[in-house]
């Protein structure tokens, strides 16, 4: 590890004389810088999307998995009795930490986004909701449904599984798509830098001929190109990452923006550390791509 660190440091420090052997090439330099910056920017967005999906999946998975809802639809005169019976059943069911009937104000608050604040709740046959909090490994839903069917005929148990699982799966897939996007960005970066390196190597065929004439090894020639492209990719990616981080930070809501997915896109806490990895990873991709291109080209030209 220590040796790899010093090798990388020595590579970055470079050999000034060897670097000077290859003339600066404006077009490929600009292309590499632009590609690295653009791809790093896209990587930041893909990463924020992926992390937001992961957070959402975790929230839905953890929070909702520990809670469920019992809905009682009964004639008004039976509502209180059935609610009390249901609470009693729940109190004696293993795996349930607590159960609480929502007050009229709480139900009103739940319906306000759809019907407004002036809904006359008392005049409408609104079902009674009971909030259930689970403990340990949770309760046996099948057994509870059977007991409720016998003792509280108007009760419907919703353990959130029906809609939680597809949402968690969707969030997981979104996270996967984010990771796939990052991989595609990496592959595109490698392809673009390979093309730029090949172009630079072709443009410098005469330089390579002279270097060979005076006894330069392939590794010496390749190193001069590889180092140049790696440093360009590193600096381009640093600029792109910084710009992407600023843009994500300026998004409304940010990572702490609440339950909405769109307002939750962004980075929070340790997530920001992921961004530090983007420039060195881009440089590593550029290093591998340029070295491969240089070796193939030098082999062809020999």
């Amino acid at each position: 590890m220590k040796r790899a660190f010093w090798t990388a440091l020595s590579f970055l420090a470079g050999d000034v004389q060897a670097d000077r052997s290859v003339p600066p090439t404006g077009f490929t330099a600009r292309l590499t810088l632009f590609t690295a910056a653009a791809m790093a920017l896209l990587a930041v967005f893909a990463l924020s999307l992926s992390l937001a999906s992961a957070r959402l999946a975790a929230r839905w998975s953890d929070d909702l998995a520990q809670s469920s809802t019992l809905r009682i639809s009964a004639p008004a005169e039976q509502m209180a009795a059935q609610t009390a019976a249901a609470l009693e059943v729940l109190r004696t069911t293993p795996g349930i930490a607590s159960a609480r009937a929502l007050t009229q104000e709480e139900e009103q608050a739940l319906l306000t986004p759809w019907f407004g604040p002036d809904l006359p709740l008392g005049a409408l046959p609104i079902p009674q909701l009971i909030e259930i909090n689970e403990q340990g490994g949770g309760y046996d839903a099948t057994g509870l449904r059977a007991r409720l069917q016998a003792e509280v005929p108007g009760a419907v148990l919703d353990d959130h599984t029906r809609w939680r699982e597809p949402l968690v799966a969707a969030a997981g897939k979104l996270r996967g798509l984010g990771a796939l996007a990052i991989m595609l960005i990496g592959a595109s970066t490698a392809a673009m830098i390979t093309l730029a390196a090949q172009s630079a190597l072709s443009a410098n065929a005469q330089v390579i001929r002279v270097l060979r004439l005076v006894g330069a090894r392939d590794s010496y020639i390749a190193r001069a190109f590889v180092r140049r492209f790696t440093l360009r990719a590193l600096s381009g990616a640093a600029v792109g990452t910084l710009l992407g981080a600023v843009l994500v930070a300026l998004l409304p809501g940010g990572a702490q923006g609440g339950d909405s997915f769109l307002t939750g896109i962004g980075f929070s806490g340790g997530d920001w550390l992921w961004l530090v990895l983007i420039p060195p990873l881009t440089a590593a991709v550029a290093f591998a791509a340029t070295r491969g291109a240089a070796r193939r080209m030098l082999e062809r030209q020999s």
Binding site: Q206, L211, R212, L213, G215, A216, R217
Partner: protein
């Protein structure tokens, strides 16, 4: 098949690190280019401290023969050996290390035009990771070829003769055992060609093997007046030892 065993003449001081060993050897070499055979069955061995001229009509393959000698080309058949090691199948790194023992003055010189002359001349040291030694050699070397004043100029700013001398300085900075020059006096006047010849003769007297491809018969005659020279003629796809008329 004509074979030229081109050994140094009597009374010559042999140079090089490996006395008795041929520095460059071509054994039954053929080379085809563009579907046609340029030459075939060609054999040649160069001893340390020898001085050879290679002549022949344009298109006979002189430059190709020189490139085969320093491993820039691979023969179609036969074998080229550098210090008894065949170039066919030689690892590219090993070939690069062997090239450091051969100083080449190319027909068109071939410089890195973006670097000043001093860096171009020091290039063989740079690629060998010995650039720090350049300061020790460069002043004397540039003075020897008369280019001290031009050390910081770039190659495109130099005349043909200056470029040829700079190429010679670059070829010898690593103190190679062989100097191969392709038409080194092709684009320069008589006076300048005599200066270049004097430099080559001086190197040969230091024990370097020298192989020069040229059309210039006057240059060969002038060389013969100073050192023991063998002249080879490449004609009709064969290499012949040229007679005393040269």
């Amino acid at each position: 098949m004509q074979r030229c065993n081109c050994n140094p003449g009597p009374g010559r001081a042999e140079g090089g690190r490996n006395r008795g060993q041929q520095v460059i050897e071509l054994r039954d070499v053929a080379y085809s280019y563009g579907g046609g055979e340029l030459f075939s069955g060609l054999s040649l061995s160069l001893a340390p401290g020898s001085f050879h001229f290679l002549t022949g009509p344009s298109g006979a393959g002189k430059t190709t023969l020189l490139k085969l000698c320093y491993g820039d080309l691979v023969p179609t058949s036969g074998e080229v050996a550098l210090w008894d090691e065949a170039t066919t199948g030689m690892a590219r790194d090993a070939l690069a290390l062997n090239r450091r023992r051969i100083g080449v003055v190319h027909q068109d010189c071939q410089f890195l035009d973006h670097l000043p002359l001093r860096d171009n001349v020091a290039l063989p040291l740079t690629v060998a990771g010995r650039h720090h030694e350049a300061e020790a050699y460069l002043p004397d070397l540039l003075g020897w070829v008369g280019l001290t004043r031009h050390a910081n100029r770039r190659p495109p700013e130099l005349s043909g003769g200056e470029r040829q001398r700079a190429a010679l300085a670059r070829a010898v900075i690593m103190s190679p055992e062989v100097i191969i020059a392709d038409e080194p006096t092709g684009n320069i006047d008589w006076e300048m060609s005599q200066r270049l010849l004097a430099l080559l003769v001086e190197l040969n007297r230091m024990g370097k093997a020298v192989l020069v491809a040229t059309h210039d018969m006057n240059l060969i005659r002038a060389a013969k007046a100073q050192v023991a020279v063998r002249t080879l003629r490449l004609k009709d796809r064969q290499l012949l030892a040229a007679g005393a008329e040269l």
